[in-house]
Structure formats: C-alpha cells, structure tokens
Symmetry: C2
Subunit: 187 residues, 2 copies
C-alpha cells in the first residue's frame, strides 16, 4: 500500500515534530528521533539528506496542519465567531502551553536565532496565521486597521504562551483568552 511505502518517513516526521516541540530543534538529536520512530539511525539519511531537511519536513507538516485548522474555523459563519474559535483552540490547549509553550512560537523563536534558511521557512507559520486573522478583521469591516488588530490578537496569544510556559501556569491562558475574546466581541 502507498501508506506503507513511506511509513518510516512519516514516523520520522511525527517523532521529530514531537521531540522538537518538547526539547527544541537543536537540542533534539537524530538519534533521539530515530529511536522514537523505531528506525535505525543510519536510515534517517535515506529519507532526509540532512537534519535541516527533516526540519523542513516538520515545518511543512505544521503548515498543512495550520491550513486545516483555518478551514475548520471557517465553519463558523461570522468573522468574530471564527476569531473566537481560534482563541478557544488556544484555551483548549492551555495545559500543553504551560508545559511546552506554543508549538509554533517556540519553534520560530528558536530558529530565528539560528538565522538559517529554516528560520525563513518557519516564519511562514506565523505569517499564515497573521494573514488569516487579518482577513477575518477585514471581513468584520475593519479594513483600515485589520493589520494592527491582527498583530494585537496574535501578539496577545503568543505572549501568553511565553508567560504560561515560562511560569508554568496554565491559568494565565484562561485569563488572557477571556480578555481577548471580549475584546473581539467589542469591535
């Protein structure tokens, strides 16, 4: 079956995604990933030329996940409901946020320091979110300041991710998402 053909490849990407989120990309060794995926270390290089190539695959997986999330939030008919669905998804994830931070934010932060080609690719994750949010604000009739509003919302969520993670306090997410939801409704 086609699903089996690249089974090891998929397993490696999933293991890399999980380990990278938990420990950071640089701190995750290919040996860690191979072990978690149940694949011999040497085989990693059959599927990915370098560690960086595996990193790209991880980002691609997160990108397609983001697009699926956008699709699901667009089931809500009003732009405000869509934005609140986004905020709610963060709230639903509060425990993981307190344990490991935002999977996208922490990845982008780390890779941005490295300043490699991966940094540019990872920034696309935040960019896609920002564009989607901005579009919702435009649909809400806030054409002139949609950009600024989108920055405010995403910054608030990224920021509370940093705080909840660093302080190990999931309740911060409750507090801040409530405020952001009310802010959206007030526009």
């Amino acid at each position: 079956m086609a699903s089996v053909k690249h089974d090891s490849r998929e397993k490696l990407i999933r293991a890399a995604q999980k380990a990278t989120y938990q420990q950071g990309f640089a701190q995750t060794s290919l040996a860690d990933i191979a072990k978690a995926a149940g694949v011999p270390l040497g085989n990693v290089y059959y599927y990915f030329k370098t560690k960086e190539a595996l990193g790209e695959a991880v980002i691609d997986a997160r990108l397609s996940y983001i697009h699926r999330a956008h699709d699901s939030w667009e089931q809500s008919s009003s732009p405000a409901d869509r934005l609140c669905a986004f905020v709610d998804s963060v709230l639903d994830n509060k425990e993981a946020l307190a344990r490991g931070g935002c999977s996208i934010g922490t990845l982008c932060s780390e890779l941005s320091k490295a300043r490699g080609p991966l940094a540019r690719k990872a920034s696309e994750l935040l960019k896609q979110h920002l564009l989607w949010i901005q579009e919702q604000f435009s649909l809400l009739g806030r054409n002139t300041d949609a950009h600024s509003l989108a920055i405010h919302l995403l910054a608030g969520l990224q920021g509370v991710g940093v705080l909840a993670h660093s302080l190990g306090d999931a309740d911060l997410v409750v507090t801040e998402t409530r405020r952001l939801r009310e802010w959206i409704r007030s526009l």
Copy 2:
C-alpha cells in the same frame, strides 16, 4: 584594584550575556564566550564550575538590570506614566527586538524547554516584571484585576517581541506599543 581583581569574571559574564542573546544559551559554546572575552578557555572553569553556573551569573546580571530599570521608571510620578515608560523602553529597543527578540523572553522560552534548574531561575526575570507591572495597576486603583491587566500588558509586549523577531519586522513593535499605550491611558 578591586575592579581589576574580577575583571575576567565580569568580561566572561558580559560576553556570555551577549552571545547567549544572539545565539541562544545551548548554541553558545564556552569557547565562543572565552574568545569574545579574551580569556583562555581553560580559565573559564576557574571562575565558573560549570557552564550552568555561568548561565546563573548571566541571569543574575539580568535580574539586577531589571531592578535598575524599575527604579528608573519609578522616577515618573503617576503609575500610568511608569507603565508607559516601560512600554516606551520596549519601543526604543525595536531594532534589537526584530534582530534577536526579547532578551528575557527568548532566554526564558529556551531554558523552559530544557527544564533544568536554570529554567526556574530564569522565570524569575519575567516574574519580577509581572509583579512590578501589577503593582502599578494596583496603584492605579485597579486592585481587583491588577493581575489580569498585568498579564495582558506583558503578554502583549512578549508577543510582539516574538512576532517582530520571527518576522524580522521592527514596525510591528511601533504598531503594538501604540495600542498598548492608548489602552493604559484608557483605564
């Protein structure tokens, strides 16, 4: 002179602080730090038992810097002015933010993933900021929701740090600090 006695030690801390901010703590080797400080690699261990001990010293240096900053902002008489002075200090730093993110936020994020004793120590940096901000809101007469307001302000600033850094766009800091300043004045 006493100032010369621990000259190398101070140089090492400064070099470590700079390199850690630019590349991340784990990605910075003791060889990098020693070279930048003009100190032979072996000597590092005369001043610091381990790399982690040097990390602690870096955090201590940042902690005392934070306290000095709080003192300077308290030159402003009104709590709102003090909070705006804090926000302004972030705006003044926008170029560095776009290049390397928030020196405190990125450090806390990275170390929180490692989950070592350094993580706890680094979280004190954010905690101190949060407490100071909360106190200003209390002085503003917002006793009941000072905590939630403080989270909102610090999250906004941390978040815009993540965005400006990852997207390499200092203008985001201009946009968001303007909004946060107006929000403070509206309370």
